[in-house]
Symmetry: C2
Subunit: 82 residues, 2 copies
């Protein structure tokens, strides 16, 4: 059984830079890592919001949100892709 980790981002420069690092460090044997780009999956924004995501990039681990650096607020993401 592997727990799920979701990396939410919106393609911003801060997101892309963080993504490289996060994808590298996550233990793929323990975690099932999904990368969600809101530009390609705007239907996932509501789910992220409910989970507590306020800005991107963000990592959702076992239901807890880690906001990593600051690329854009979720509100701004919605204005652009929504």
């Amino acid at each position: 059984m592997s727990a799920k980790v979701v990396f939410y981002h919106a393609g911003c420069p801060v997101c892309v830079s963080a993504e490289q690092k996060v994808l590298n460090i996550v233990d793929k044997n323990k975690y099932n890592l999904e990368v969600v780009h809101f530009g390609n999956a705007k239907n996932r924004i509501t789910e992220a919001e409910k989970a507590g995501v306020k800005s991107v990039p963000a990592l959702l681990i076992d239901g807890e949100v880690l906001h990593i650096n600051f690329g854009a607020s979720l509100d701004d993401v919605k204005k652009i892709v929504g």
Copy 2:
């Protein structure tokens, strides 16, 4: 060869919560993970500052800083432990 990852924190509630998640997800086979608590290692603050750490908790990966959520600014940490 394993690259080095340093998790800097200051024992704040936000730090402790993030620490649990970060320690779990990091692939220990690929990365040598060090946890630095400034309360016990105030001599490491300068090194963190030079690396670009502005707030805790923060994760330093291959020379790049990921600020994770926001517990306290490094300036405030210095006031308390410095």
